[in-house]
Amino acid sequence: MDRKDLKEKLLKIGDLATLPVVAYNVMQLTQNPKASAMDVGKAISQDPALTSKVLKIANSSFYGFPQKISTINNAIVILGFSNIRNIVISAGIIDAYKVEKSSAHFDRTEFWKHSLACGITSKIIASTVGLKNSEEAFIWGILHDIGKIVMDTYIHEEYSQVVQTAKEKGMLIVDAEQTYLGFNHTTVGTLVARKWNMPPALLKVIRYHHNPVLDYNSLRISSIVHLADILCRTLDLGSGGDNEIPIVNEKSWDLMNLDKQTVKTIFAEMEKEYESATAFLH
């Protein structure tokens, strides 16, 4: 298959890649200022398996609520709209692109661990730099690499070869994708995220997390996930498909204004939260 064929296949991915209906509906509702918590609760309850998963996560040590949360409406009241939206969309997408479909080269368990770690770390960095609504950053981190899992699903053989080559040659996977496919996961991710009607901030993160300076309007948002990715790779929390660490963009770093001690504190928080977040993956 040559590059032209692959590009045609890429366009088809836009048609093939699906977001679970409930996750899609919840995404729409949470962007609608007229939607109530009850509307969201009803939407989630349409899917019993997802309802059960949301309650399991809501009751996990990651959220640390001392009493049992037994209904979705209860969960929305206690954890808030934003956290519930994050749980539903993350759990829905992780379930749709299951770990059982791992190939020899692209390990989906490690991929989702890396994504989860990036979600946690993005939230911690966002809070550290004083970003309003820092919980938003959790979903940015979890979904920033969504293009990889979509490619692994819809151009599986080609993508396995790219991942294998990246590992053998010590390349960043984004560079291997661009070199051998002619496009990369940021392009594919943006394509599907747009189709799934994801919020504008998330689209930017997916598009620019490897090159945040191109995100003229919201450099800070892309920089948070750019840095989170590097910190997760440094502590080896999961794997996005390669074994390398990208170079920190200096403009992003300056914007974050972090010193060594603050980074050490972030590392400690990352590991602590990561250990309590496994309910997202099981």
Binding site: L231, T234, D236, N243, I247, K260, V263
Partner: protein, 54 residues
């Protein structure tokens, strides 16, 4: 790296520091990367010492 080895004993921390140093050594060095590398080394060293009660 053996991810099952855990992050909590001193030797595991030193193994992890060695791997991080190797990965960072392959990169073009800039000031933020130096800070990140030093932060990671100190964090892992202190964690290893804490775990060993030293």
């Amino acid at each position: 790296m053996n991810k099952n080895k855990g992050l909590h004993d001193k030797s595991a921390s030193q193994d992890q520091i060695d791997i991080i140093e190797q990965k960072y050594a392959r990169l073009k060095e800039n000031e933020p990367m130096k800070i990140l590398l030093n932060a990671a080394k100190e964090y892992l060293t202190e964690k290893g010492q804490e775990k060993n009660g030293s």
